[in-house]
Structures are given as structure tokens and as C-alpha cells.
């Protein structure tokens, strides 16, 4: 009897750990829609602004990476916590937010990361960064409800304010494939589509209102530059047309002229009965994938009136973000701190293949024990506990929730083998699948 109660305590610990990692993540605050509470939370969640750069050469010192096929090729700890990151078009620089109001840009020179710029304009946590491939512009959004488009000029990065007209935090941002628009998801239950007006020299924000019942957690552009997919904490995934007269040419639209009105909802997917996060289109735009906080991942083919959806239940903790590596392979990242690979077979049936990082799993009882002390480690600070036991040995490249995954490619391609992840542990990890022979078939 005592044994079973003790197990229950361990599960309570495990769940407490999850809730804890949720709270330490900025997105936790978006659920509260009362303004007072919101602003309080947003201020409180600034963790550490005086971050020091620690480059950890973990690859040499850790024996677990000496196996023949390691997927993580580099691990760098840039800050205490990273809310989001983005790569420059030539992949020589990285921009990230160290969980405060700044955006830091680092450049790789002679195998060392050097801080080259700090973009300071926002008042609160920067929740989204995107660096455009072709025009070399950075767009940032923040909990302070504003957005800036940064242009590189001789004097450095020059910001242009984009008034989003929001009354809640902006949560995510993405350039459209043609880079003439960008979309912002927000806690105000709206999506802003922003475009540049030449005559006024001004970025204009057009809102998709009254479509979402809760915060918009993630957005994804279809390759056709018109369709936009969103996920929301109301549990739904929606697809909208963002056709803007004078910005989009008629032929670039979906073909069906009835669907091209701005803000028109193409489809609403009501598969997940809890928070939905992380949505992406496949490179061709034929498949849509998004994740739910109920440890499920959803794949949708033929987005439209006759959409065919598949849901795959995950054995482990939920995901936060996804990335299509090809039409048939998806990587999901999240609370398990270890990327998961999902693949589609010839008939288009999706399933979980494996974790990207193979971690040594101890015997069942020892595993419970280590999870227990791991949870304690979270409460009392990592270092104190990791010194006294061997939990550290079984850890992988990330040791906290991963909330951002990006392809590492110089342009949009139909398949990528390299990508980077960042998370609440402040690390940015580069992954390469070249040596993962079992996965190359799916590229």
C-alpha cells in the first residue's frame, strides 16, 4: 500500500514539474485575459537580464555523444532561457531573445560566438522573431503589444514601429513566403496581417477579428503566400485567407475566387479539446501538422471542405512546436526535451518513429527515482542536485522544455536535414540528420 501511495507522490511530482516548466515559459501568461493579471505576469516573468555567455563544449566532454550516430552536432548555452530564435539568411548570425525585452544577435567567427548587436526597443518580453530570407529584415513582436521591423543600415539595425492595434500581448510572428506581409498571433484573440504601404512609408496592420475564442499561439504561412494556419488555446486549428488587394496578385490565390476575401475562414479543425500549439505546413503546402497539449499531434491532408485528419497519440509529454523536414517526415519538440520523429508511410499514414536522441534508460525502478530527484533539481536549481547523483548522465542536449524549432537552410527547400532548437534551458542545439541512416529514406 505504501509503495503505491509513494508512486502517486512521484506522479504528482512529475506533473508539478510539468506545470513548473509551463510557468517558467512566457506563454503561460497568455491564458489570463484580464488585463491587470496579464501585465503583472508579463513583468514578473522576466527571468534574468544580466545573462552571461557560456559556451559549453559538451560534445567533447560527454561520453554519451561518442556513439556512432549523434544527431546533435552542436550545443551552445547562450542565456538562462531563450524564448525564440531566428537565423540570418546566410546562417552566419543568430538572433534570439534571452527571455527579456532585448534581442541579441550573435555571429559565428572562428568557431566562437560573438555578440554583435543588441536590439533594444521593446518594453517587455520579445515573444517572436523572424528574419526574412531575401530582404534581410528582422521582425520582432513582444508582450508590449508592439512590433518592430528592423533594417540593417550602415549605422546598425534601424527599427520601424508597426502599430498592431492590439490590447493584449503579441505572441508569435512569421514573414510570408514572398516577404511582402507578415502575420502576428496575439493574446487578444486576433491575428494581424501586416503589409508595407509604399505611399505612406508605413507598415499597416489588418486584423482578423472574432474568429478565435482564445489566444493565438502559433501561425504558419502556406507556400502560396495567401493561406495562413493558426492554432489557439481554444483547442482549434484554423486556416484563413489573407488576400490583400494591391499586395497579392490574383493568380497567387488558391484558385477559387470565392475563397480569396481577406479574413475568410477556409476551415476550422476541432480535433483537440485543450490548448493547441505549434502549427506548420509541409513544404508543398499539402499537409498541415499541429500539436495539442494533450500529447497528441494532428496531421491534416487536403485542407479544405474535404479535409482528412489523422491524430497520433504520443506516449510521452506533449509537444510545443513542429517542423516538416520533408513531405513525409516531421520533427516535434516539447516538454520531453528530446525531439520526436514522425513519419508517413507510402499510404500517407503517420506514426511516431523514434526519439532523435537515444538516451540510456535505466531500469524501471531506477528511472522513477531519477525522475523524482530530477523534479527536485528543478525546484532547487539544477547544479545542486546534479552533482550528487548521476541524473546528468542520462540527459541529452536539452534539459528543459524545447519551444522553438527552425530549419537550417539558406532558402526554402523541399527537404532539410539540419535544424536548430531552442528552449527554456537557454541552449540552442543544431541537429544534423546526415548520419541518421534510418531517417534519410523519408527525406
Amino acid at each position: 500500500m505504501w509503495a503505491s501511495t509513494n508512486r502517486a507522490t512521484i506522479w504528482a511530482q512529475k506533473i508539478a514539474k510539468l506545470i513548473l516548466s509551463l510557468q517558467s515559459c512566457n506563454f503561460g501568461v497568455l491564458l489570463f485575459t484580464t488585463p491587470q493579471f496579464f501585465f503583472f505576469s508579463a513583468d514578473r516573468s522576466i527571468l534574468d537580464s544580466s545573462n552571461t555567455l557560456q559556451i559549453t563544449q559538451r560534445l567533447d566532454s560527454r561520453s554519451r555523444f561518442t556513439g556512432k550516430s549523434m544527431a546533435a552536432t552542436s550545443v551552445h548555452k547562450f542565456a538562462q532561457c531563450i524564448s525564440c530564435h531566428a537565423w540570418s539568411p546566410d546562417l552566419s548570425m543568430i538572433a534570439f531573445c534571452p527571455n527579456n525585452s532585448e534581442v541579441h544577435i550573435y555571429k559565428l567567427s572562428e568557431d566562437k560566438w560573438e555578440k554583435v548587436h543588441v536590439l533594444q526597443k521593446h518594453d517587455q518580453i520579445v515573444s517572436g522573431i523572424d528574419w526574412s530570407y531575401r530582404s534581410n529584415k528582422i521582425v520582432t513582436v513582444s508582450h508590449d503589444r508592439n512590433s518592430y521591423v528592423w533594417n540593417q543600415e550602415a549605422t546598425g539595425w534601424v527599427p520601424t514601429l508597426v502599430i498592431l492595434r492590439l490590447n493584449r500581448a503579441a505572441l508569435c510572428v512569421q514573414w510570408s513566403p514572398k516577404e511582402n506581409k507578415f502575420a502576428v498571433g496575439s493574446g487578444a484573440k486576433t491575428v494581424c496581417i501586416c503589409y508595407y504601404e509604399q505611399e505612406n512609408n508605413w507598415w499597416v496592420s489588418k486584423l482578423i477579428r472574432k474568429r478565435h475564442d482564445s489566444s493565438v499561439t502559433s501561425i504558419a504561412w502556406h507556400p502560396n503566400n495567401v493561406l495562413l494556419a493558426t492554432t489557439s488555446t481554444d483547442g482549434k486549428c484554423r486556416v484563413f485567407s489573407t488576400f490583400i488587394k494591391g499586395v497579392d496578385a490574383k493568380e497567387s490565390a488558391t484558385g477559387n475566387s470565392a475563397d480569396t476575401k481577406f479574413g475568410e475562414q477556409i476551415v476550422q479543425l476541432d480535433l483537440c479539446f485543450c490548448w493547441a500549439f505549434g502549427v506548420r505546413w509541409s513544404p508543398s503546402g499539402n499537409t498541415l501538422a499541429y500539436v495539442g497539449h494533450n500529447s497528441m499531434i494532428y496531421f491534416v491532408d487536403e485542407v479544405g471542405p474535404s479535409a482528412a485528419a489523422q491524430s497520433v497519440a504520443i506516449r510521452d509529454l506533449p509537444l510545443r512546436d513542429v517542423l516538416f523536414l520533408s513531405e513525409r517526415m516531421v520533427v516535434g519538440v516539447g516538454f520531453d526535451c528530446n525531439p520526436m520523429v514522425f513519419v508517413a508511410d507510402e499510404s500517407g499514414l503517420w506514426s511516431f518513429l523514434r526519439f532523435l536522441e537515444e538516451r540510456k534508460s535505466a531500469s524501471s525502478s531506477a528511472k522513477y527515482g531519477s525522475q523524482f530527484s530530477e523534479a527536485f533539481g528543478k525546484f532547487y536549481g539544477q547544479s545542486k542536485f546534479s552533482a550528487s547523483n548521476n541524473v546528468e548522465q542520462s540527459r541529452g542536449a536539452h534539459d528543459n522544455c524545447i519551444n522553438c524549432i527552425l530549419p537550417l537552410a539558406k532558402q526554402r527547400k523541399s527537404s532539410v536535414t539540419r535544424f536548430t532548437t531552442s528552449g527554456l534551458d537557454g541552449k540552442i542545439v543544431t541537429w544534423d540528420l546526415q548520419k541518421q541512416e534510418d531517417l534519410l529514406d523519408y527525406l
Binding site: M1, S4, T5, R7, A8, W11, K14, I15, G235, F273, C274, W275, G292, H293, N294, S295, M296, A313, I314, R315, D316, L317, P318, S364
Partner: protein, 132 residues
């Protein structure tokens, strides 16, 4: 549309649960506790908002859960499709605070988590719409 009609048809659901209850009693008499649990979990009314239906089904499931003696053999016979719904009922059992029920639910919970992973618990906790 058919689903909504069915969900609102409380009397129909209650009748079905009564029928299920009789079937479970006869299965238990034949020493088939796993079959009884499967029958109890099948056609659970998570979609309906009516608490009476949910309680009625819980009584039936509770009867079947308490009849399980050998948890290991339960999981060798129970198909994965029942895991999520069983987990929901285990948490309902734990919420009663009744000592023998909690003991039994914890015993099954331990094995079920080993089998189905943490994702199963998450699906149970995160789903606030389809409750049991």
C-alpha cells in the same frame, strides 16, 4: 447531428447503462473480469453534459474495476484503445477519496502508466470537454 441527438437522449443512455450493468454482472459471475471492464468502458458517455449519465456509468465502471484481481493479466488482455478512457475513470476513482477504491485505482494506475506512458495521463488531464 445524430451525435447531438444521442447526447441529449439521457433516458436512452441510462437504459443502455442498465443493460450494460446486467451484462457485467453475468460476466463477473463467469469470472471474466477483463471482459466486464471492457464492456463497462465501451460506450461511455463522455460527450453528454448530464451528470446523471456520467455517474450511472461510473457506478458500472467502478463495479468492474473493483472486480479486477490480477492487474498484470488485465493488461495482457486489454487493448490499447481502452487506455485513455480507463485512465479517466481511474482519476475519477481517485477523486472519490474512498480508501479501497483509491488503493485499487492506484494499483491499476501504476501498471497503466507503465504501459501507456505519461501522454495518457496528459490526455486525461488536459481534456476538459470529454469528461467522465
Amino acid at each position: 447531428m445524430a451525435e447531438i441527438v444521442e447526447a441529449d437522449n439521457y433516458e436512452g443512455i441510462i437504459t443502455r447503462i442498465e443493460h450494460k450493468s446486467r451484462k457485467i454482472e453475468s460476466l463477473l459471475k463467469q469470472y471474466k473480469p477483463v471482459e466486464a471492464l471492457k464492456t463497462a468502458l465501451e460506450g461511455s458517455p463522455p460527450k453528454t453534459k448530464d451528470e446523471r449519465c456520467k455517474s450511472a456509468n461510473w457506478i458500472v465502471v467502478h463495479r468492474a474495476i473493483m472486480a479486477i484481481k490480477d492487474v498484470d493479466s488485465l493488461f495482457s488482455a486489454l487493448d490499447p484503445e481502452y487506455y485513455d478512457i480507463l485512465m479517466k475513470y481511474l482519476y475519477r476513482g481517485l477523486s472519490t477519496g474512498d480508501r479501497p477504491t483509491c488503493d485499487q485505482c492506484l494499483r491499476i494506475h501504476e501498471k497503466l502508466t507503465e504501459k501507456a506512458g505519461l501522454g495518457c495521463i496528459l490526455r486525461c488531464l488536459a481534456d476538459t470537454v470529454n469528461t467522465v
